[in-house]
């Protein structure tokens, strides 16, 4: 433990803790919406788009964010709208987007032999965040929370029942668009913590844990955020103590918590 406290004197650890907690809380808040709308795996699908963006950016020699943010927003829109329009269930649309993006990414990579930082995108590392990543994470997380608070009542309504929302004269397409943008933002920054392989975990696991508690929707959101914060901190401490990748540790802490909750409240 004293080793951990000593680590707190390093700026990169402090940065990781601040950015990581913010990202985790945002992911968990948006995660509640995605789980309830049956888009649990959208994070996974978008992270493959993130991988494709990385390949395209490396190939064209462009900054990664410039490619990934617009591509992810487009894909999130695409997934939400295609599955809504054709009532095919989100899973098909997600499978199409993710396998398509992964295939495209692999192909582009094969033309281009600079795949060096692919590994860090697959596994992520919050401790290895650059100054730029840190600033971006802070700005995007605060935007996500701000947008979520401003549109909270609407997002609640749309998540609950879109047809009813339309009967109140509300433009559900616009708010589905907002949810897509928030989802894309969270995947862009969340990939830094867990990498593309585990991103779905930090989005949906806290929400799934929180669903086991009683009470209203707001309480569910808050519990999900609190669980995300606590499991992030616990995961980071474990990964520092045992020198393991942070993303994997955070996900495992969440899964263990879920099992404990299921045992206590069957």
């Amino acid at each position: 433990m004293s080793e951990f406290l000593e680590l707190l004197s390093y700026p990169f650890v402090i940065r990781a803790l601040i950015a990581g907690s913010l990202i985790s809380v945002c992911a968990a808040v948006i995660g509640v919406i995605l789980v309830l709308k049956h888009y649990s795996l959208i994070g996974h699908g978008l992270s493959e788009v993130g991988f494709a963006s990385l390949s395209i950016a490396a190939f064209l020699n462009l900054p990664y964010m410039l490619v990934s943010i617009p591509l992810m927003i487009l894909s999130a829109f695409g997934i939400l709208f295609v599955s809504q329009k054709y009532k095919a269930g989100g899973d098909n649309a997600i499978a199409i987007a993710s396998s398509g993006a992964l295939a495209a990414g692999i192909l582009i990579n094969s033309f281009n032999n600079t795949g060096s930082n692919i590994f860090s995108y697959l596994f992520g590392s919050v401790l290895a965040m650059s100054e730029f990543d840190f600033m971006l994470a802070i700005i995007l997380s605060l935007s996500i929370l701000g947008i979520f608070i401003i549109f909270y009542n609407r997002i609640f309504l749309i998540t609950y029942n879109e047809e009813y929302a339309r009967s109140l004269g509300i433009n559900t397409t616009f708010y589905s668009g907002i949810i897509s943008i928030l989802t894309a933002f969270i995947v862009v920054i969340g990939m830094r913590i867990t990498g593309t392989l585990l991103i779905s975990g930090i989005i949906i696991l806290p929400a799934i844990c929180a669903r086991n508690f009683n009470g209203g929707f707001l309480k569910l959101i808050i519990i999900s955020g609190v669980i995300a914060f606590l499991t992030f901190i616990a995961g980071i401490i474990l990964s520092l103590m045992f020198n393991t990748p942070s993303g994997a540790a955070i996900i495992l802490v969440n899964i263990i918590l879920l099992i404990i909750i299921k045992i206590i409240r069957p």
């Binding site: 609950y160 929302a165 209203g216």
Partner: protein, 213 residues
Amino acid sequence: MNNFLSLKNITVIYSDFKALDNISFSMNAGELVFVIGANGSGKSTFIKVIAGLRNIKSGEIIRPSKISYVPQIETADRDFPANVFEIVMTGLQRRNKLFYSHDDKNKAMKIISALGLNDFIKRRLNTLSGGQFRRVLLARALCGEPELLLLDEPCAGLDTKSHRDFYDILAEINSKGTAIIIVTHDRGDFDDIKYNRIVEISNGRIFEHERIS
């Protein structure tokens, strides 16, 4: 032709199936109309057209600006993790209004008490009985202060007592001037409330059944 609610030659098509076939219907402010008909005849579609939830293939509609719609229970997600107060409050949402005011909260509380739901405001939807849940949906609809209230089979599955209580509430709402359209399968409902007309929908067409002046 009156201009409170009037549907003229409305046709609604799902893929290639005519769910409503050239129907016309009108009603005056403050009236109460029952809609009956077999399963799949087009009753819910009719109600949804009035609520503005279905695109029409052809025809014209004049409708009041404040309409509240209470969906058929099968489509009102009861497993959603929200409490009664949160759901009732949604009835106050409007385009161009993102936040609830203090007055909104008072208004919702008043309606909640009037419908005897005070003890349930913190309860999650899936812990309510069928009768309590119907009252939640009605409370939510009343928050919109509608001129026209659309109810799609509001009493299906209720026992005699809850049924009568529910109709007593509707009678009071109607007596204050709100027009109501009630879809029902139960002809016994006609004895529970004073109504103006009964119309029947059959295979997407509408028939005037009974008129009481």
